[in-house]
């Protein structure tokens, strides 16, 4: 070694220049460091990066775990929910020991166990039109600009909101975001708004009518599916942070995964010609509720319903993967009755003998059901032939929402509204108020 180099080495040692990875970090990330496509520069880039994950649920869990393990330096997490036992089948960042803890805090504990070098910023609130830009902006003001946003949300309104917020902020291009959605055995993934590439609105300009697409709570989801999709999201985040070429990233195409057939398909996506630029956020609940329904947030009447939902489904304030997504107020012309479990029991014990219809899936009926159920027909498939031509009909579902829809549908099909009774709060409210020995699901 020449003297001058040795002198420089001594100088570096003494003032600690160019040491953005400690020896501990170097051994921690050694499998990355030997990869020519990551290396020291790439690993430092990850350390200097900042990623916002919206939702620490099925998709967010695995994504957060891998981003943390990979050494992404700053991670923001948005989630207003708390950990529930029913989450643990797929939300693997949480555990039995954190049931009842906020998802944000539970995620932070696990992340810091994996990698204490990660700076975690928690937003224990909902991502809404009111909070979205502030959250995105806060990352900037604290010098942790969110380089990428990850969509771990479970409903259409939030997906449109993420899309629009990422198009708006920051001015001059916005933020790339990694979309995913899952249901049953199928997943979708794409990177939107990457260097001006196509966005969610190019794939789905307007949402499907409310209630037409089942949520995971209603339709079910294979636990490992969000694991697969969340890991794919983390892969794309890391590649974006490593500034990989656009053609290497899922931009301008949507990856569709069929877990049952184990097939991945790429569907090309182009920008819609003449699509309007997004300049402001809107009421996304209203946007996704469609013209026939009333947005949840504008409805005061829904408060009792919300209380029921919170009690029976363990939702804190979040619109989580539940029936709330497709919630709508029954329309006036559908003036069927709503009956509280306690009133229902009283009526039944005084001789009322309605015909009882369970409008959940057969699989849900097998978990727990009212013992005096006459028929099981999922609410989407109800036909007039399914119900008797006269007499009262008691309709029930899990939490009351599908029951309302089923009653509306029956009225549309010509059943007199005054024959119809929807069990308020569904079988879960019956469980909590009448029969605590029933299982909850």
């Amino acid at each position: 070694m020449r003297l001058s180099n040795f002198f420089l080495y001594g100088l570096l040692l003494s003032i600690g220049l160019d040491v953005s990875l400690t020896n501990e970090e170097i051994s921690r990330y050694s499998r990355h460091l030997v990869l020519s496509d990551v290396g020291m520069d790439g690993q430092k880039a990850l350390k200097n990066s900042s990623v916002l994950v919206i939702g620490a649920g099925g998709l967010g869990s695995p994504c957060l775990l891998y981003l943390a393990a990979a050494g992404v330096g700053h991670i923001g997490i948005v989630d207003a929910d708390t950990v529930d036992t029913s989450n643990l089948q797929r939300q693997i960042i949480h555990g039995t020991s954190t049931v009842g803890v906020s998802k944000c805090e539970s995620a932070r504990r696990r992340i810091h166990d994996i990698n204490p070098h990660v700076e975690v910023c928690l937003y224990e609130e909902e991502f809404t039109s009111e909070t979205a830009l502030r959250i995105l902006k806060e990352g900037f003001e604290k010098g942790r600009s969110y380089d990428v946003v990850v969509d771990g949300s479970d409903n259409f309104p939030t997906k449109y909101l993420i899309n629009d917020a990422c198009e708006i902020y920051p001015v001059g291009g916005g933020t790339p975001w990694v979309y995913s959605a899952i249901l049953a055995f199928e997943g979708q993934l794409s990177v939107f708004n990457l260097n001006g590439g196509p966005t969610y609105r190019d794939m789905l300009p307007t949402p499907p009518p409310p209630g037409d697409v089942p949520s995971c709570a209603e339709g079910g989801v294979l636990g490992v599916l969000p694991g697969t999709m969340g890991c794919l999201q983390a892969t794309e985040v890391i590649k974006i942070l490593l500034k990989r070429k656009p053609e290497e990233i899922t931009s301008g195409r949507v990856l569709v995964f069929d877990a049952m057939k184990m097939i991945f398909k790429n569907i090309g996506l182009v920008k819609q010609p003449g699509r309007k630029e997004i300049t402001e956020l809107i009421d996304y609940q209203g946007f996704c509720a469609g013209p026939k329904t009333i947005a949840k947030k504008t409805s005061k009447k829904s408060s009792t319903f919300d209380e029921t939902m919170e009690r029976s489904l363990n939702i804190q304030n979040g619109r989580t993967m539940d029936e709330t997504e497709s919630f709508f107020e029954p329309m006036d012309q559908h003036s069927f009755k709503s009956i509280e479990p306690k009133d229902c029991l009283r009526k039944l014990s005084t001789g009322w003998a309605p015909w009882v219809l369970d409008v959940r899936l057969k699989t849900e009926h097998d978990i727990v059901a009212l013992p005096f159920t006459d028929k099981v027909v999922p609410h989407r498939m109800i036909r007039i032939e399914n119900v008797p031509i006269s007499g009262d009909i008691l309709v029930y579902c899990k939490a009351g929402v599908r029951g309302e829809k089923a009653c509306s549908r029956l009225v549309d099909l010509g059943i007199e509204a005054d024959r119809l009774y929807n069990l308020e709060g569904g079988i879960m409210k019956w469980q909590s108020e009448i029969d605590p020995d029933m299982p909850r699901y």
């Binding site: 649920g57 959605a181 569709v256």
Partner: protein
């Protein structure tokens, strides 16, 4: 007649009665995406409410999304995928 391959994804597959792939014959008059939606609705009543509405079911022609509002011509050997929107997480 021209013959095209239709692939059913997710709830479209369920609605069609657990069919994941089907070869469909079209007359030259029917050889476009709009007529195909009508024919699928007739052939699969369970799929009707879904397939007739662009918001409920997106089409992909030869692995490219069909832009909303666009009616594309179909030719022999084309593949159409029916992709329902999903939102879970």
């Amino acid at each position: 007649m021209i013959s095209i391959q239709v692939l059913f994804f997710a709830s479209a597959r369920e609605a069609a009665g657990d069919i994941s792939k089907k070869c469909i014959e079209l007359t030259p008059d029917e050889a476009n995406t709009s007529s195909l939606r009508r024919l699928l609705a007739l052939e699969y009543p369970g799929l009707a409410s879904m397939v007739k509405d662009e918001e409920n079911l997106t089409l992909a022609l030869n692995e490219e999304y069909v832009t909303r509002g666009q009616v594309l011509a179909l030719k022999d050997g084309d593949t159409i995928a029916l992709i329902p929107p999903i939102s879970g997480g």
